[in-house]
Symmetry: D2
Subunit: 466 residues, 4 copies
């Protein structure tokens, strides 16, 4: 089990895949698959392979011994193989001579890590897919639900919650595609032997690698090995990191929207009846945005772990000293946090409640200031630009200082010009009416939302979706 | 100009693309392209567009003023537009009203950054391509040139320099493919207007974005904008980071091979007659592996800069506060170091000299120890495994303690068994002869090299290469 | 000049210290100081030293040549020394033989970097000191100015702006102390000769190092050299990074307070009359929190650069390959961003306007919910805990659903209990009055503020302040 | 238990301090200490405090429930307190009302984390101290043991293993001092209540904090709280990171020295009889430098985790959303890896064997090239500089191309000058004799070693050592 503080952020979905027991089982699965494949290609006797597979299936490994001796040896494989060999010998005497034949520790460790990571990548993809679906559902439902657009953390204009959600969804689609592509490359078997040349496998190397990959349902990987050129594997981890970064971006927006003073979204209540999501040990009124917290927290953890992935690429020669070993240790943590973030995101997007009334109140509370650019634009059609510019500027300052609505303040600021003006008052009023009508903004955002949704449907049709 | 210490590592290839002047020119190019595209779609008058383009072409921007006022405003665009507008007005009065119409600062900044980055990505790809080509050439030339394989920084067996270089080349191919794909997505125009909804562009938004992209020879990008969902752009930077990481891995191997005590490669002399590559201010005999140093140094710098890319993904709402701004500042440094590393790598691989004699001497100096696993394997065919295991272990220890050759030490260790042995001496000798013959190792490595080279040719044929 | 995007964030305060010209001047200063010190200790003739110093003063270095040849040589020192030697020879023939005597490139590069960094550390300390002073001034002025305390980005209770500012100030004090201590250790001369053993200096090594340090007004540093054990120097950079991190924390709080929907602080207008701080190219009403943006942006950049400092500690042997070279390239960027952040923070804290009315309105807008824990506590004195807990819970939900004030909602929720209650209504009312009176919260925060201010005065008295 | 791959690197020394059970116990210890301290100050009844302490001592927490509900609530504290309250009520009815009084979740979580971290910091300091002692022992023993100095990974001259070890030791001393100082500040109790103002503690806040700190043997910390200004705590983690970085530097040097082709050091055999340190699953002859591997691997992991510490400083307002929560999750991993690295370093330095013969052979193998600068210097005393410079350059090239010894090659290169020379041959020979005598280099390094050792003794005397 990981630390409690880590579990609080990431949940425990990946724990069973990354436990020492699961990892040892994955090594055993590798050895069994290797034996079977070697036998199928005539490299070792069939009955030896059968004995190895039986022992690999039945062995109850002594984890304490593996941990203790493994730390000393720098690899758990030597001691595990000793235990496995002993078990094999209780079955078919002499068969252990064919165990691990031609392979090396790192073949077992890399492949076992890939085997443990694979179901977690599936969890990540499932969560990404669900988060994307929910984001696009929100986009569709709220395509025309107005809310403040905010730039540099200031109210800037009108957008819709739909457009916001649509851009989230489109980004999640891209991330899912990249993770999926990277997984196709990164979840590959490792099999190179002592120095990565497949020496003991002769001209069966490629065939053997393919057979083991097939046995374990992994990709065959690049020609030769990836033990020392780990870009494909690192790219998978990096893409999972990027997806987590996008999740953190979305959670950041939602956390800002969930602020007491903004109140535009509420996190879903917990699905578990007994659970008290977001309660506080000190404050009875609090409803903490716990899902946002978990996503953001996992995001921070993933960022640091991702930062290790470039340095650990620099494997020394055929098999490095401390580089790939660190990377194998980092990967499970990185993925656990990532899956935690993405699952929390899916749950959050699925259950969140958008408060359209509050969003409208937040628009209204800006006293029309967020329409200033539209006012500028519409008035410039009927009045000289410098006149408009000055009037709108004066009016903005007045609203900020004294309150009132920007429309009235502009009208007031234009008084002197109206007297001398060539433009009939009606035209100015029409311009102001057009400027302060949110319909154009809502329509633009709504149109943008539709385009994104259409593009998503198109892409899904071409195989990215289900 | 960057700091001298930075230039020493990265060289200056990217400097002209990232100078303040180049960046301002790129903003002007964006404004000119926007005006032309808007005119073509009937959004602004043709003559206004012409005036804007003329002014954008002719303006000599006051950079000091832009820097000073820009720092205060948080963006250089406002002051630059003021200078541009003034210039426009000296041409066609009133035309400046149509400048930047519907766009926002970030549209200009993001697009200008992409415009500056694009030629540098080309430099990176050219260097990657050349480095790959050279690596594959080395692979081909040295497919059967034996050298020590080293694992955990210890001599482990025999490989060939060709296999080493082939795995480098294959990784560079993959990196090039990923950078290229990411560039197709990441080098996109940005055009969303004040809040990212294309409000002022009405139903011409998509067409306008496409027109501006076409004008600037950039990709149109995802539907809508990527201003707040920067995964595509970040992925481009990350892929460039990964490629740099691979370059650092290769340079690391070469630096280890270039050590005085190893001496298996030598860096090329400088192409410049006047230059004294790798000389020392204190030591006349030194020939420092300067290209390795530069690649490794750039690698370190890129690693840190890449670590900022996940946090800066978390743009707040429609346009963040300090996130994307930091990312725009980081990108040029990241790319400059990356291009520096990749260009140095290409030069290094092109000119390096592999010293096959020295490589052979390094093999010989292990006194046969690197054949121990082969000895184990071959002898186990003719003698009981435990006998073999003990004899080889004893012999290894003896060689390490007293010197001599492992073959002889094994023969000696097997003496007692020979007397009682069921195996004729001849068989043991044959086994030892097979074990200590490097041919099998060389053949395996050579075969692996060929497979990689064939796969590379295949992939190139399918469009990855030139 | 750095990129425009970088300057927009960091400003240009450090630029002149980190220009190639300044760096070359610093190398020349090192060579001059070395010559003088060597002469004073009888290691070289006085007149040679004089000639070296004169030439170092008068040389107009050819920077282009230094950059070009330096990139090839991996160090600018060789070419610069060649130019300097030529200049010396035009003065005193033969004197150039005594130039750089016993030193090595890295001695010059490390010391020159320290010389360039030193005035920037002063800028950082000055800014830290000013920011701290302003934070404590705000703490003092607003010790009793109530505002919402927010936890997990939700309104949580009442604090004062003073307490918030006081904790900022105390943290800045600690950062300043740590930077100052680290500078005392990190701003040291480097002088070890070719392999770091001071070989050419004989038994005068320690004395010479001290003399050069004195000449350059730097610390003498640890016994021997720090060229390969760079923890002291790295710690200085890390401490500057931590201070920037604290600046980003403060700017983050202020950015949240400056949100349109919160409105509790306003950034100062620019000191420059001509400047238009925080204006937008698209939106006339915007007042962007540019200083916050710059601090946060610099913070992001510094975080990544700091991440490189641990890997670059791993200098290989006596002088590494790409490690310290990268660190020398990173340091100026890191410090420039840090100084930018700290100067912007000082300006921000000095000029910000706290809007107490708005802060009070934000408290009122919670409808009493932020007093829920006090209500729980006070009522539990007069009613059974489970009764209180249920009533307050019900009331909180009601206020969130229907509005109204929590006090009334609690009173209503307690109705049934009142009839049967053992407690006189008066007592309940008194409990509610106590609970909903902000005075206790304000007093607690005010008391906490005073304690911090007193501690600060105490520490300043003991030498931490001016 | 952590993943097997992580345990392989870090060992398991910290596991028991960071297990979920240990963490929950630490929270219980906090609650017990709080109750006792509150009772002692009259804030709660003595018998309630006694009941709380008894329950905290006796409770067998339901960890599964805490994990499951905690993930939902975003904190394990709510559910743990519910379990504890139930237990209290089975003891003294009504006493649970006084549990956690005035405190908040983060008070418990921060303090509990500090309690778990504290013994691990002691482990780190013990290991640092031992590593330092061993480095200084090696320095003392090998003060005059010559070996190659290497710069930019090339043989550069002669140093001694003692000087190398002395600079390691001095750096470890500095790191130990910084960790110790940072621990004095960072290992502080957290106690601020709901919003960090100590509201419920009235004017007893400071006294209460001191009492709880005393009870738990932690520092009282800065006035008020550090919940939102976490620089002191972050600095502790950063200093541990820096110490790990220094460990990685040392391990890097040793790994380079342990290379087969260099062979200057050997790792100690394992203390455990059963263990087979550094054995390989494929290669019987391998003796992998496992301790170096573990230190380097932990170093990589720590580097990434440290990179998260600046971003997580940016706690939002009084208690952040995902920032400090991530930091609490990261700290145990960071420290576990750091302790793993430092313990491995201590073991490595204690048991390593320096092979002086091999070191001498490596010097000899350079054919005198590493004396080239001394040759230049000594000859320049008796011959014109340009003559010397050319002759030494020619001779270096010849040695590299054709072998032979540099002394002879120089003599040969000087032939033409000798005939015409003003200098008697004797003088040249004397110069060459002086140049190629390693005594001067050894003496310089030895002198430098002594100075560092003396400085260490001095500092230890002033309280830094035991």
């Amino acid at each position: 089990m990981r630390t409690l503080s880590a579990s609080m952020l990431s949940g425990t979905s990946c724990d069973r895949h990354f436990s020492p027991r699961a990892f040892v089982s994955a090594i055993l699965a590798f050895e069994a698959a290797l034996a079977r494949a070697e036998a199928s290609l005539g490299l070792i006797p069939e009955d030896a392979a059968a004995a190895i597979r039986a022992a690999a299936r039945d062995l109850v490994p002594d984890l304490d011994s593996i941990t203790a001796k493994g730390t000393d040896a720098g690899t758990p494989v030597v001691e595990l193989l000793a235990q496995l060999a002993a078990r094999i010998e209780t079955g078919v005497r002499g068969a252990s001579a064919y165990l691990h034949l031609g392979a090396t520790s790192q073949d077992a460790l890399d492949t076992a890590t890939v085997l443990c990571v694979k179901p977690c990548v599936s969890l990540a993809l499932t969560a990404l897919e669900e988060a994307r679906r929910q984001a696009l559902r929100l986009a569709s439902e709220h395509a025309a639900s107005p809310m403040l657009a905010r730039t540099l953390m200031q109210a800037a204009g009108i957008t819709t919650f739909g457009l916001k959600a649509a851009t989230w969804g489109a980004s999640l689609t891209r991330c899912e595609r990249r993770v999926r592509e990277a997984a196709g490359e990164g979840l590959s078997v490792q099999l190179g032997g002592a120095v990565g040349s497949g020496l003991m496998f002769g001209d069966r190397w490629e065939a053997l690698r393919a057979a083991v990959a097939c046995e374990l349902d992994l990709a065959t990987g690049p020609s030769g090995t990836w033990q020392a050129m780990r870009d494909g594997w690192a790219n998978l981890l990096v893409q999972i990191g990027l997806a987590t970064g996008v999740a953190a971006k979305i959670a950041g927006d939602l956390a800002l929207m969930a602020q007491t003073e903004v109140g535009e979204i509420h996190e879903p209540a917990s699905a578990k009846a007994s659970a008290r999501r977001g309660t506080s040990s000190a404050l009875p009124h609090k409803q903490n945005p716990v899902l946002c917290m978990r996503i953001l927290g996992c995001g921070h953890a993933v960022q640091g772990l991702t930062a290790s992935l470039l340095p650990t690429l620099a494997v020394e020669h055929e098999r490095g000293l401390g580089t790939w070993q660190a990377e194998l240790a980092i990967a499970p943590d990185l993925i656990s946090y990532a899956v935690g973030a993405l699952e929390a995101l899916a749950e959050l997007l699925k259950g969140l409640r958008f408060d359209g009334l509050r969003a409208q109140r937040n628009i209204d509370a800006t006293c029309g200031l967020v329409f200033a650019d539209q006012a500028m634009f519409q008035l410039a059609r009927v009045l000289p630009r410098d006149v408009v510019s000055q009037a709108v500027g004066t009016a903005c300052n007045r609203v900020r200082a004294e309150g009132g609505h920007l429309r009235d303040a502009i009208r007031h600021a234009l008084e002197p010009h109206r007297a001398q003006g060539s433009q009939p008052e009606l035209t100015v009023d029409a311009a102001l009416a057009a400027a302060f009508d949110p319909a154009a903004s809502i329509e633009a955002a709504s149109r943008g939302t539709e385009r994104i949704l259409q593009a998503e449907v198109r892409d899904q049709g071409s195989g990215i979706g289900e």
